[in-house]
């Protein structure tokens, strides 16, 4: 007997087919260079969006793909930022060295904590990540001789990019650099989630206990993805430190961990572009609403979050996907 399905029947080819670029993706990345032409006075804001998108991408790997809820992800972001800042203070101001060092330190911290993370789920996991976030924040606060404590790190001196392009107030270098780093990391993440390992992560998200029954070691996979996620969060923190030229305790705040979670929920977790779209909406909304009322800018964000969770459980991208699917089925 033979079947005629008209589709790929080899698992590896199937995964390759899944990873083909959609025309909308080309459009998205083409649009990402528009700020240089349309909003040349808002490139600093654009670089903040790119950095936040990078951070959201790192959380998406563990939350959206592996089902690991974290309320302490800013710990890795902050470690990346502080490592880069401290290195620059002592003469290692080259952006690429800082980026590498920030990602390594965050990755090592992620690897160490992944042994605890892999053993728990649900509320226990949320509390553990929250606790780890508080621990790192307080450690940075106490180590004021190294971090500057609540006064922030003094003397951050980031060198020019490739020895030529300085991170100035206009944000040309900052946005170019942030966007390139975001795009490279995105390519890596995209490849990762469309691999057998990425598919295993989605299986772990669905049922971590039973994944070993199909030959996938859940704990080892969780440790790997948590470490990778920490590396990316560290890169995001390092880029922020480099493009802003400052590092303060704010990089480790619980608020930052909560914000990135909100961003992901808004955009759509486990959708690759969810964190990117969420970051765009969140940062622009914050910029606009805080201009109207600096004290109440979280109010509309709160309304939006409640609306999305109630009416678009898959986030904005999930809602769009559902709408597209409905329209297609009606027309076909």
């Amino acid at each position: 007997m033979s079947i005629s399905t008209g589709a790929v029947t080899d698992p590896h080819l199937y995964l390759q087919a899944q990873s083909r670029w959609h025309p909308l993706e080309f459009a998205f990345w083409a649009a990402s260079i528009l700020p240089f032409f349309i909003f040349p006075n808002h490139l600093v804001l654009a670089s903040q969006i790119a950095i936040t998108a990078l951070f959201a991408l790192s959380l998406d790997l563990i939350l959206g793909y592996a089902g690991i809820v974290s309320l302490g992800h800013a710990a890795f972001f902050g470690l990346g930022a502080y490592t880069t800042g401290i290195l620059s203070k002592y003469g290692w101001g080259d952006p690429f060295v800082g980026l590498l060092a920030g990602s390594v330190v965050a990755g090592l911290a992620g690897y160490a904590s992944s042994f605890i993370i892999a053993r728990f789920r649900h509320l226990t996991l949320i509390m553990i990540t929250l606790g780890l976030g508080f621990l790192v924040h307080e450690a940075a606060n106490q180590a004021s001789w190294l971090t500057g404590g609540s006064d922030g790190l003094q003397g951050v001196r980031i060198g020019p990019l490739l020895g030529r392009f300085t991170f100035d107030l206009y944000g040309y270098a900052a946005y170019t650099y942030s966007l390139i780093v975001l795009f490279i990391v995105f390519l890596v993440v995209r490849r990762l989630i469309n691999s057998p390992f990425g598919l295993s992560l989605r299986g772990i998200r669905e049922n971590p206990v039973r994944m070993p029954a199909v030959g996938a070691p859940s704990h080892a996979h969780i440790r790997k993805i948590y470490t990778i996620s920490a590396v990316i969060a560290g890169i995001a923190g390092a880029v922020l430190a480099q493009t802003s030229g400052t590092v303060s305790l704010g990089v480790l705040d619980f608020q930052r961990s909560a914000d990135v979670l909100v961003i992901l929920i808004l955009g759509g977790a486990g959708r690759l572009y969810g964190g990117l779209i969420g970051a765009l909406i969140f940062i622009v909304a914050r910029d606009q609403f805080s201009g109207i009322n600096p004290q109440l800018w979280y109010f509309p964000i709160g309304v939006l979050l409640v609306a999305v969770v109630m009416f678009l459980p898959g986030g904005i991208l999930g809602g769009l996907a559902r709408l597209t699917s409905t329209l297609r089925s009606r027309w076909s």
Binding site: D10, Y14, G203, V214, G215, A216
Partner: protein, 244 residues
């Protein structure tokens, strides 16, 4: 005599402090098939979970192709060739049929193409989410997913439970084809004793976590008194005749 593919020797196992199985010894030859029968709660599912490595083994050994795997992690047992279809199916609800199959894929003769040939209904539903399948389709997917690991031994835990008769017939036929045609040995835990005995070579009956009776399946199928005594089953003569 050839080495058995799987051997349990005096196994005592359970969950935490609770002992469910005691003194279990059995051997399964290459190309062999074994029906595991018994009333509810006697340890049939626990036997499969123990072979898979999901229980605490307190005594005895489990050997796979003469290698002791008693302490080997479940995912390594799968990679060594033990496939398992759990009783609860446990398919991944928000992955598509194709994703559910691909996530388990390991090199071997079972591919997406061959499992779709075995279960054409899954090919038609390949883009459906796991939770958008009927009970029978979910069961087919659970079996197909286990096959995608390209097992050298398949453990089937009540694959026909709660399914409509037409689906039971379809699945029985598929099990017969995949085991007879591919020569894959299997252990089948099933409440439908008549079907189970018709599909297998050997049978054991569990009672209170121990093997109370073992016999060739064909002989046990005719031994109505033993079946009635050990599992309270009165075989439907006509169905037994048609199944065998």
């Amino acid at each position: 005599m050839a080495e058995p593919i799987l051997a349990l020797k005096d196994v005592r196992a359970g969950y935490g402090e609770a002992v469910v199985l005691d003194g279990i010894s059995l051997e399964l030859p290459e190309n062999g098939s074994l029906a595991v029968l018994g009333r509810n709660g006697v340890g049939k599912t626990t036997l499969l979970l123990t072979i898979m490595g999901f229980t605490d083994v307190r005594r005895g050994t489990i050997s796979w192709r003469s290698n002791d795997i008693t302490a080997v992690a479940p995912h390594r047992r799968v990679r060594n060739g033990i496939g398992w279809v759990p009783q609860e199916r446990e398919i991944f609800p928000s992955l598509t049929v194709e994703d559910n199959l691909t996530v388990a894929s390991r090199p071997g003769s079972w591919t997406l193409k061959s499992v779709f040939e075995l279960f054409p209904r899954l090919a038609e539903r390949r883009n459906n989410m796991g939770n958008h399948l009927s009970g029978g389709e979910q069961q087919m997917l659970a079996i197909a997913r286990a096959l995608m690991t390209n097992p050298a031994l398949l453990l089937l835990d009540e694959p026909l439970e709660g399914l409509a008769p037409v689906i039971v017939d379809e699945l029985t036929d598929a099990i017969r084809r995949m085991t007879a045609d591919a020569g894959t040995p299997f252990i089948l835990v099933e409440q439908h004793a008549d079907l189970s005995l018709a599909l297998t070579d050997q049978a054991i009956v569990l009672e209170r976590g121990a093997i109370a009776h073992r016999a060739p399946s064909a002989a046990l199928l005719q031994d109505h008194a033993t079946l009635d005594r050990l599992i309270g089953l009165r075989i439907d003569e006509s169905r037994a005749a048609t199944s065998s």
